[in-house]
């Protein structure tokens, strides 16, 4: 969606079609000190999706493909409020220690470095759950170093409805339709939403990375403040499929992180300038974000 795609990548693609050739090439890369990577979430809708993943970055040519898990860290989440004087007041009684757990949804070989509220297994009804309007403090202690981040949960922006339309037939001959989401953007400027969906192909998967995701063209309400929004995502769903549609209201900080993540993930081509993911975690040699998602949900059977 960014302008690069329009005016840079496509002309480049045309040039490549015309004349470009490609060869393997040895790129000699020096290594850097491993960096702690924090992937933390707090939301008000899915308790199992409130988790923190800790890992360390790798040398570029390291044989492992997944980052090295960071085990045995002390990870806590505390609920609190922002006072009138812009100071946080944390409720010590609400502090929850997240642990590496044998959550069945996670494949056995990949459970290290993933921290959950242990009550998800022992007492799911009382497991950690975000409350819109509250603030959450993430604290991490590992290798004698401390890290922290604060995530507010904004008031939920309700979805009025979701409808299906914009039909097409894919190359396998399946009839598909797209979802349009209808909601009213709050009158205050600076509101940002991210969108997720669960459908046939990912219904039994687990984790934010396994959900379908998309972001609006411009991502913010800078141009549509207070308007009634009817946004059609480009993803197609099979007719008859049930789609759970989630809209997450996030702070500008969280949006900026995920915006940089998307740019960094698609960062290639001859004219791209390297994009570093914006770090939202306090501490030394660390990157990542503690994302607060205020979710609203609507389900639809595609017709």
């Amino acid at each position: 969606m960014k302008r690069n795609c329009i005016t840079r990548k496509l002309p480049v693609a045309f040039v490549m079609i015309l004349v470009a050739c490609e060869r393997d090439f040895n790129i000699d890369i020096r290594s850097a000190a491993p960096q702690l990577v924090v992937e933390g979430y707090i939301n008000n809708e899915m308790q199992a999706y409130n988790y923190v993943v800790l890992s360390k970055s790798l040398d570029y040519y390291a044989p492992d493909f997944q980052s090295a898990a960071v085990s045995d860290a002390v990870v806590t989440v505390t609920e609190g409020e922002l006072k009138a004087d812009d100071e946080y007041e944390w409720n010590a009684a609400s502090k929850v220690r997240l642990m590496e757990s044998d959550l069945p949804q996670i494949p056995e070989n990949f459970r290290k470095g993933v921290y959950f509220d242990p009550r998800l297994i022992s007492d799911p009804a009382h497991a950690l759950k975000g409350v819109p309007g509250k603030y959450y403090l993430l604290e991490i202690e590992t290798d004698d170093k401390k890290y922290s981040a604060v995530a507010p949960l904004l008031p939920v922006v309700p979805i009025d409805s979701v409808t299906s339309g914009y039909y097409f037939t894919d190359e396998e001959g399946k009839e598909k339709a797209r979802v349009t989401i209808h909601y009213k953007d709050p009158d205050t400027l600076g509101n940002v939403q991210l969108f997720y969906w669960r459908f046939k192909d990912n219904r039994y998967n687990f984790g934010w990375g396994s959900l379908g995701a998309s972001r609006r063209g411009n991502g913010t309400d800078d141009l549509t403040n207070g308007e009634y929004i009817q946004l059609t995502q480009s993803h197609g769903f099979e007719i008859g499929d049930t789609v759970n549609y989630y809209m997450a209201s996030v702070t500008r900080d969280v949006y900026n992180f995920w915006d940089s993540f998307n740019k960094a993930r698609n960062n290639d081509g001859p004219f791209s300038t390297p994009v570093t993911v914006v770090n939202k975690i306090e501490g030394e040699n660390v990157t990542g974000c503690f994302s607060g998602f205020s979710m609203s949900r609507r389900d639809i059977i595609m017709r």
Binding site: K2, F14, P34, F65, T224, F271, P274
Partner: protein
């Protein structure tokens, strides 16, 4: 009393002698033109061993004592001519130079740098030479060719970005007959907008910039188009593999006025479809451009010249082969330029030129993807008035002065996105600015072997309304407030003096040393997210936040001719500093962003180096060797932890060897070899996975790989080198028939070097493989062009 009378008599006799001495000086006016009576504006006249440049109309006016004057007239692309006149009265001499290409002899590949001219860091190339040098796909390109000169670097293949002494591509004042050209490239810089059929010469000033030039920090690239024949109707053209060109010229009123119209059109898409129909599909690209020039001699002292250029690029890309996710992209962009000049010789000592110029650039692009469509437009328009004066009271001093005024209108990039029925429309108001400058410069022969040119330019820039601007807070969130400015209301104002000094000291053995100091100010910035230039890049004015760029450069050089001027060499060294350099933040969001200024970062730059140039101008074998050892770096507080880092186009070593040799009357061979240190790149030092999920059934993780970066531009691409060869075959060199033709056979990249266009790391999560890849554009590429004229 006797003593008093004696003294008076001696003084009287002395005064008489002096007056008599002065009275023996005569005015010598020399007019240089070619065989078609077209003035040769780049000619050099060596009169009694002292070199002088003619003005743009091919004229030179000097005073000499009575006696013999030996004059050698030479110009790039012409055969030199030597003659002697006996000066016994005011004299007008008309020198006719023959084009070297008409002589069917070897071409003297000459850059008009010489020992005595007080204009260092300047080189020019004529069309005769441009036509002989090997070029990609046989397409003559003045901008590509000048990158063979020391200190001038190309961004690489498929990039017309030109980097002069560490400056950026927006820091070159590219002029077409004195009119600024904002986007001098066709698609991705494969070609420049300058049609070889219309071009007369190209001159580059890298340092010691004369006071009449301004508005850019690094260089002046002046492309002059040729005037049409005043005698008879003529046509010329060429048919190449990817484009054809045609030019017609002739008199409007015989002997007094002329026209020339040149047009060029590519058929790269059609050729592509013939070669690889399946790969090209419905994609298409073409460009055309038309140059025209009309010159009219009102009388011997007044002349009108009208210059016109229009060009358009049309690019479309269609991708319909994946899961209903159609992508359709179309972009149309181009320049429109028109200028009218009145050149007047008020008397033998005073001349003036008054010009009115229009310059416009527009881009319209559309992108469709499934239910999303995006529109993006941008552009700018300039209206300019310019008045230049030249006063030459005698041989020792000449003074130039002038005024320039430009009205800018910027369309900074309006965009709209439609997603289903939802519309997002950015509302960036047009912006306006006034730019003006006054200059005065004196060229003074302070002693027989000393010349100094000292000048000052005072420039002024004022961004004005009407416009309105959305106010953003520090986090980049709009506050809901707008700042409005009425028509003509001042928004930001800047003005700076720009001193320019250069001097030359002639030394024994046909040698000299030259020094120069230049301060330049640039009020417009090119906003780009990459090192290459794209039509979508935005020219934006200085504003409250965006300060003008400033540069200072000192240069010193040693120049020498030897072997009876068969060889010319120079060594130049320079040091340049630049402030208020502008970049977008990495990952800046540009589309639909009404706060582009908030996406910018500001820094400084530094460049220094030494340039060596050795040229053989006479004999069968002609050519040059240019070598540059240099360093260019940038410093931005937000990048590289605030430490200086190499500029992307920092090129430690840059070598070019150009040679030309006539094999026979029919065959001539030319070769070009280039070598340059690879571009500086930022590459990752590590990676991590993020956005984890899990396939519960397949028992495997889902994740994205993200690169981890450290130092900026810390990696070097492999060195770039290439050899090109071309042969010009003239079937009937001695034919006296009107119709003449020649064939140009070229081989680009003779030894098939895979010079990387870019490199990347290919991470395959499924196969768990990481491989380095390099993409290269042009393997060995033959070309053939048939040129004709009648």
């Amino acid at each position: 009393m006797t003593t008093v009378y004696m003294r008076s008599a001696i003084i009287f006799i002395f005064l008489c002698a002096c007056i008599n001495g002065f009275a023996q000086h005569y005015t010598l006016t020399i007019q240089v033109s070619d065989s078609l009576n077209i003035p040769v504006g780049n000619a050099t006249l060596r009169i009694n061993q002292k070199e002088n440049k003619v003005d743009a109309t091919g004229k030179l006016l000097l005073q000499f004592p009575a006696g013999k004057c030996t004059i050698t007239a030479s110009a790039v692309g012409y055969r030199s001519s030597t003659f002697t006149i006996l000066l016994t009265a005011d004299t007008v001499a008309h020198v006719v130079l023959e084009r070297s290409e008409n002589l069917l002899q070897h071409v003297t590949i000459v850059a008009s740098r010489n020992v005595s001219r007080n204009q260092m860091s300047t080189q020019s190339i004529g069309i005769g030479q441009l036509k002989k040098l090997p070029v990609l796909l046989g397409e003559i390109d003045p901008l590509k060719t000048i990158t063979l000169l020391p200190g001038i670097k190309s961004g690489g293949e498929a990039s017309a970005g030109i980097y002069v002494r560490g400056g950026g591509p927006d820091q070159n004042l590219v002029l077409l007959d004195g009119i600024p050209v904002y986007n001098p490239n066709h698609l991705l810089g494969f070609f420049s907008v300058f049609n070889g059929e219309a071009v007369q010469s190209v001159e580059v000033i890298k340092g010691g910039m004369p006071a009449e030039y301004g508005g850019r920090l690094s260089s002046v690239i002046a492309v002059e188009t040729r005037e049409g024949s005043k005698d008879s109707l003529k046509a010329s053209g060429g048919i190449g593999l990817i484009s054809s060109r045609l030019s017609a010229e002739g008199p409007v009123v015989k002997g007094r006025s002329s026209f020339i119209v040149s047009a060029r059109r590519t058929y790269i898409d059609q050729v592509g479809r013939l070669v690889a129909k399946k790969r090209i599909g419905d994609n298409g690209y073409y460009f055309y451009d038309i140059n025209a020039k009309l010159s009219f001699d009102i009388n011997p002292k007044n002349k009108l010249v009208f210059t016109f250029y229009t060009g358009k690029d049309d690019f479309s890309f269609v991708d319909m082969d994946n899961d209903g996710r159609d992508r359709i992209f179309n972009a149309v962009w181009g320049n429109n330029i028109a200028g009218l000049s009145w050149k007047q010789e008020i008397n033998s000592k005073l001349k003036q030129e008054l010009s009115a110029v229009y310059n416009g650039f527009t881009l319209d692009s559309r992108f469709g993807f499934n239910t999303t469509s995006i529109l993006f437009t941008s552009g700018l328009r300039d209206y300019q008035l310019k008045n230049d004066w030249l006063y030459t009271p005698g041989n020792k001093l000449s003074i130039k002065w002038g005024l320039q005024y430009t009205w800018h209108r910027f369309k900074p990039g309006a965009g709209g996105v439609t997603s289903g029925v939802q519309q997002f429309k950015s509302q960036i108001s047009d912006q306006y600015a006034r730019e003006a400058a006054a200059y005065i410069s004196g060229d003074w022969n302070i002693a027989p072997k000393w010349n100094i040119i000292a000048g000052i330019r005072y420039s002024y820039f004022n961004q004005v309304g009407p416009t309105e601007r959305v106010i953003y807070n520090e986090e980049g969130v709009p506050t809901g407030e707008k700042e409005r400015f009425g028509k003509g209301e001042s928004i930001a104002k800047y003005h700076y003096p720009e001193p320019r000094v250069s001097m030359v000291r002639l030394l024994p053995h046909n040698s000299s040393i030259k020094l120069s100091y230049t301060r330049t100010i640039q009020y417009l910035h090119l906003a780009t997210t990459s090192g290459a230039t794209f039509p979508s890049d935005l020219w934006i004015p200085g504003s409250k936040l965006i300060q003008p760029g400033k540069a200072q450069q000192v240069a010193a050089g040693y120049f020498r001719d030897f072997n009876n001027s068969a060889y010319e060499m120079s060594v130049e060294t320079y040091y340049k500093t630049m402030t208020n350099q502008v970049e977008f933040k990495p990952g800046a969001q540009l589309l639909l962003n009404q706060n582009l200024e908030g996406q910018m970062i500001f820094g400084s730059g530094r460049a220094y180096g030494i340039e060596l140039f050795l040229q053989k101008k006479k004999g069968k074998l002609t050519g040059w060797i240019g070598y540059t050892l240099s360093r260019a770096e940038r410093t931005f507080p937000e990048l590289n932890n605030g430490k200086a880092f190499p500029y992307r186009y920092d090129r430690t070593h840059d070598l070019s060897i150009v040679a030309n040799y006539p094999l026979s009357a029919r065959w001539e061979i030319s070769g070009v070899f280039v070598y340059g240190t690879g571009n500086a790149l930022t590459i990752p030092v590590g990676r991590f996975t993020y956005n984890l999920g899990y396939h519960v059934i397949e028992q495997k993780p889902i994740f994205s790989n993200i690169n981890q970066y450290d130092k900026v531009n810390d990696y070097r691409m492999p060195a770039y080198h290439r050899l090109d060869v071309s042969f010009v075959y003239t079937p009937r060199p001695l034919s006296t028939k009107r119709f003449k033709s020649s064939w140009n056979f070229g081989i680009y990249n003779v030894y098939n070097r895979y010079n990387p266009y870019f490199i990347y790391l290919d991470v395959d999560n499924d196969e768990q493989m990481i491989k380095g890849k390099k993409v290269f554009l042009f393997p060995v590429m033959p070309s053939v062009t048939w040129n004709f004229k009648f």
